[in-house]
Symmetry: none
Subunit: 415 residues, 2 copies
């Protein structure tokens, strides 16, 4: 199967936005055994988009297009494809109704601008958009099946997985993919460690960085679902064995907060945080997870030293003696959080996120972690690299992953 | 000047690497007043690269190609371009010598593999590589001047700046862009409201959604910097006027937390939060901003009702009577946060982020906001739509944006 990707958008040709959609699609299509020969990006110009559809549809079996499905005047995908193919546009009534209902639900009414999103090239098959208003569509043109998806990454990915992927699976071959979620080991080290797996099992491994996580994808293709599943499972077991449980936190779709939530729930423990340099991002990560409220009680974001003293009871003298970024203060914050929040376990994080604030002995990126639990009080520190938000995000994941390890083994060292 | 970018590399068409080179080049070329119509990525395949050169050189004045100049068998740029143009390859002796010397300096000797890097299409002009071994080159082909640069970003950028930029003629037009940052008005409504601006001023408007924000870009092209700046400024003023100050929170690069930080700093106010359904994401947003610690003291993430009582002093009876998601509790949380954190102003957010937890009178997405300040106590509520993390993010921005308006005008209604 020969595939091409067409990205539309003047924000791309003007260099205002990284084309991460094309990279994501290229990786997905490659995993589905398609050969992506071409990624073409053109601006919001009907002539050029029409010409691109014409060209790409001649030499490819599949063309996946992103962007240009929105309501504004620079959204031209449907009109361009219709023109290239010499057909008209027609309103897809179910999509129009869906757009209308979506607008009604937010107290707005349908305008001509919004209605335009339901106008599809004649002969299209509409693809529902579960996460936004614009429907996508597929359209047979020359040699190719053309799939037009929204440009918003979350909508595009959801639509690709729900509507395109099932249509692309190779005839007679079943493709099973197992995702293994890891944290704390650099991509090149993971790559080196897993070097033998592809050859040994006859599977394909893919790597995707979701900073600071790394996902390893094990892809097995066989003649039956059973064979492909067994093979993918065996290879995934080998991957987990090689990387170890401190690095691998989940198989499948579970996030780190979800895994932690499940562990706390099973143990009937209540958890809270004290955050300084991460500024609420540990709590924000946890509360992205639906249903976390039965184990997560809350946090004290003690950004100023005064709040560390007032709400967490950290002695002012301790801060004066050791500095706010220190083992002693991290432990005192963790213990203070347990008391103040009335929970069983707590995680405290205090550090220097940068770009300023470093001292000769404490470079930017220095982060101290404290964990307090029944009969447990642990500390460690690390130096993270990169800019402020990367330090914050890496520190938040690092703290939560260590907590995950400690719940299983109170002597666990951080990865 | 019409330009195209050609990126070569199977690591790009397999989705293993984000094409940040193309984005960087597109932004640079746009700044130089070139119109980038096309960004084309093809794998390491001589046929496809040759075809790409043939096609792009017909319709563009400038083609910038990256990648494929290295020593390995999949480095095919010079051979592909020579084939497309019907010329041979010839060794560029000064480049060969430079490669030899560079290898000698690191204790290696010249091999045939390395020597290949000095073979350029006949008629090329070599471009020196100050940061690596492979020289780049420029080559006249059809309508275009083709510039072939290395794929390693640092080498590519250095060569573009040193060798390509000075050769690109300015078309005598200067392009000035003003970014206007907005929150709270849907994209289609903004589009409708600004419909007359392009025609009236002779500028181009662009829109970019960074959920839940929307950026409006005003682009003006004129013969001089002064004319273009004045035009862009006048059109930007009109945009700000039309949308109003509750919707427009900044011009240029400032984030909403940065704008708020600046306002609090100027007023010498200290600020803190009480978060329930946003779970720390307001605090996380604020603390992404370097230097916010001089105005932001911290937050109480009161996810459980018990923490609302313990740390914020919300009366249990108030929660029992009105429910945790209510005007009374939002106001009590805001006042409690000011007391507990010892700050001048506070924002409290309590709501139902979903997907569960709704009641007949409180659908998923219902969020109550409380703001407490010296002689000020305000409340409002809204229903947000979409999935959990979108509700949380929209609520966080909405709260911060309202606070921004209230600092200027204590009677301001939320947008």
């Amino acid at each position: 199967m020969i595939a091409a990707i067409l990205s539309t958008g003047t924000e791309l040709t003007r260099g205002e936005l990284l084309n991460s959609n094309a990279t994501w699609l290229a990786a997905e299509l490659t995993l589905l055994d398609a050969k992506v020969t071409t990624i073409l990006t053109v601006g919001d110009c009907e002539d050029r988009i029409a010409e691109a559809f014409q060209q790409l549809s001649l030499g490819h079996d599949v063309v996946v297009c992103t962007g240009g499905l929105g309501p504004t005047t620079d959204d031209l995908t449907a009109a361009s494809l219709a023109r290239a193919a010499g057909v008209g546009l027609e309103t897809h009534e179910p999509s129009l109704l869906a757009i209308k209902n979506r607008l009604l639900a937010v107290g707005r009414s349908l305008t001509a601008t919004n209605a335009k999103q339901a106008d599809l090239p004649q002969g299209s098959i509409a693809l529902p958009n579960t996460a936004g208003t614009a429907p996508g569509f597929s359209f047979r043109f020359n040699r190719a099946t053309v799939y037009c998806l929204p440009g918003v990454p979350s909508e595009m990915k959801a639509m690709f997985e729900a509507c395109v992927e099932p249509r692309l699976e190779k005839a007679g071959q079943v493709c099973i993919q197992v995702v293994i979620r890891t944290f704390g080991m650099p991509e090149s080290a993971v790559n080196d460690a897993l070097r033998s797996v592809e050859g040994k099992f006859g599977v394909t491994l893919g790597y995707r960085v979701h900073f600071p996580e790394l996902q390893v994808k094990v892809l097995a293709m066989r003649n039956s679902t059973r064979e492909a599943s067994e093979l993918a499972g065996a290879a995934a077991n080998a991957v987990c064995e090689i990387l170890g449980s401190r690095v691998v936190y989940a198989r499948g779709n579970a996030t780190l907060p979800a895994v932690l939530g499940k562990m706390l729930r099973e143990r009937q423990l209540r958890f809270g945080c004290a955050e300084s340099c991460t500024g609420g991002s540990v709590s924000a990560l946890l509360t992205e997870e639906p249903g976390i409220s039965d184990v997560f009680v809350g946090s004290v974001v003690a950004y100023s030293n005064e709040v560390k003293e007032r709400l967490l009871g950290v002695p002012g003298q301790l801060i004066a003696e050791h500095g706010a970024v220190s083992a002693a203060v991290a432990l005192s914050m963790a213990e203070g959080a347990r008391r103040a929040l009335g929970c069983d376990w707590s995680l405290a994080i205090t550090g220097i996120a940068g770009p300023t604030g470093e001292t000769p002995s404490k470079p930017v990126g220095t982060v101290h972690f404290g964990v307090s639990g029944p009969n447990l009080s642990r500390h460690h520190h690390r130096v993270f690299h990169g800019e402020r938000t990367r330090v914050q995000r890496a520190a938040a994941f690092s703290g939560l992953n260590w907590l995950r390890c400690l719940l299983d083994d109170p002597t666990a060292e951080p990865v």
